[in-house]
């Protein structure tokens, strides 16, 4: 039965993707991308990827749409028609498509149990997580401990994007603008609804942050949700009052602090005699050490992601129309 749902959602997703490419109005394209991300997230959920569905919904539908809209407000709304180089592009695309379709002919079918993917490394993770790390959510265990070095690299990718945007957009052609941008101040309904909903969004963000070991969740999703809550506050009350809530000095501290916390845990495990990011040395009982290690690095991830997403949004929002 769920195969029918899968096929329906996938086809809907394909239609949205083609609509995104064909439409010339960029705002429409961005909204369709939001729909596309939501369909992709529900597809992931159908394919038993709960963590990835939560991330894709929060990042793809939420933050990505906010970033595109804030960039579009500073640039153009309509794409100019251009037909140059269409045939070359089609040729290149067709060649790659044939190559990929050729690859899928021998690949294992969806969900068949004895595909090579499920034989070697995956069962070891599923069996050893309760023993070595004793954390219900196997994905968080693999993400944070077994392949912790990947996630360290990932935090620094987010960190690079954060300082990159701040570095590029700190360059004002003229004097940096200080015009009072008061947001939707005279929209009473939205501000009231916002004021009631924002605390619950932040609460849900913290829940996802510390619930990452037991159910779908973790640093990235939590960082995105908390950033979304504060961005909603900035949209309603205007970026200036939001910057009063989180001044830029604190933001820079969060961006650098989270990454340093994650790396610091790694260096601490080295100082305590283990290898880099080996949490079992953090406390006498190895399993408790793993718990502590995973909790700390998820916190570092959450702080960095929140700091980066907020500083990127404020970099876009505080820019005047030129």
């Amino acid at each position: 039965m769920s195969a029918v749902f899968g096929i329906f959602l996938l086809t809907l997703m394909l239609i949205t993707a083609i609509a995104v490419v064909r439409t010339r109005n960029l705002f429409v394209a961005t909204t369709l991308m939001g729909i596309f991300s939501l369909l992709l997230a529900s597809n992931f959920f159908l394919l038993d990827a709960a963590d990835v569905a939560l991330t894709e919904a929060a990042v793809g539908a939420g933050i990505s749409t906010v970033l595109f809209l804030s960039a579009l407000s500073l640039t153009a709304e309509q794409e100019k028609p251009g037909h140059r180089g269409r045939l070359v592009a089609l040729a290149v695309v067709l060649v790659t498509t044939l190559a990929l379709l050729h690859a899928t002919l021998d690949s294992p079918l969806l969900g068949d149990i004895n595909a090579p993917v499920h034989q070697h490394v995956a069962p070891w993770y599923i069996d050893n997580t309760p023993l070595a790390i004793d954390v219900p959510n196997v994905v968080t265990a693999v993400l944070a401990s077994f392949r912790g070095f990947d996630t360290l690299g990932e935090v620094f990718v987010v960190f690079t994007a954060g300082i990159g945007v701040m570095f590029l957009l700190a360059h004002y052609p003229q004097k940096p603008p200080h015009q009072p941008h008061h947001g939707l101040r005279h929209y009473l309904i939205q501000r009231l609804v916002g004021r009631t909903v924002i605390p619950f969004i932040l609460l849900f963000g913290f829940y996802v942050q510390f619930h990452g070991d037991f159910g779908p969740g973790g640093g990235f999703q939590a960082g995105t949700l908390i950033a979304a809550g504060i961005i909603l506050f900035a949209l309603l009350e205007g970026p200036n009052s939001a910057i009063k809530v989180i001044p830029s000095g604190v933001l820079k501290g969060m961006v650098a602090g989270g990454a340093l916390l994650y790396g610091g845990v790694g260096v601490a495990t080295m100082l305590l005699g283990g290898t880099f990011l080996d949490y079992s040395v953090l406390s006498s009982d190895p399993v408790a050490g793993q718990h502590l290690g995973i909790l700390l690095i998820e916190l570092g991830v959450g702080i960095t992601v929140t700091g980066v997403l907020l500083s990127i949004f404020f970099a876009f929002a505080s820019r005047k129309h030129f």
């Binding site: 309904i189 609804v193 909903v197």
Partner: protein, 109 residues
């Protein structure tokens, strides 16, 4: 007893589905922005109540039904607020709720 609850929840889910269908067709068929928003807010208003109600009946008295109720409250709070924001933004950007012909002319210009 279980039979009755199943039939009721099945009924609620179907009605919810129908209302979503009505809202979708309305959003397509209506001439201008504001009337389309009326149709679209059907899928925002009555349809979630029916569908989530049906699901709560299916889930019975468990943690899942409390979470479903929370989702319903969240939807009912943010849906109308979003439509209100959209409508006032449209009015601000000069979309007069005139008759269809003048509207389409203005859109073409």
């Amino acid at each position: 007893m279980q039979m009755g609850v199943d039939i009721l929840s099945w009924l609620l889910l179907t009605c919810g589905g129908l209302f979503v269908l009505v809202g979708g067709i309305g959003a397509l068929r209506m001439p201008d922005l504001y009337t389309r928003m009326h149709a679209a807010s059907v899928t925002d208003g009555i349809a979630p109540i029916l569908i989530v109600g049906g699901l709560i009946l299916q889930a019975g008295i468990t943690l899942a039904s409390i979470k479903l109720a929370a989702i319903l409250i969240f939807l009912l709070l943010t849906g109308p607020a979003a439509s209100n924001a959209l409508a006032s933004a449209a009015v601000l950007s000069g979309h007069r709720p005139g008759n269809a012909s003048e509207m389409s002319a203005e859109e073409e210009a």
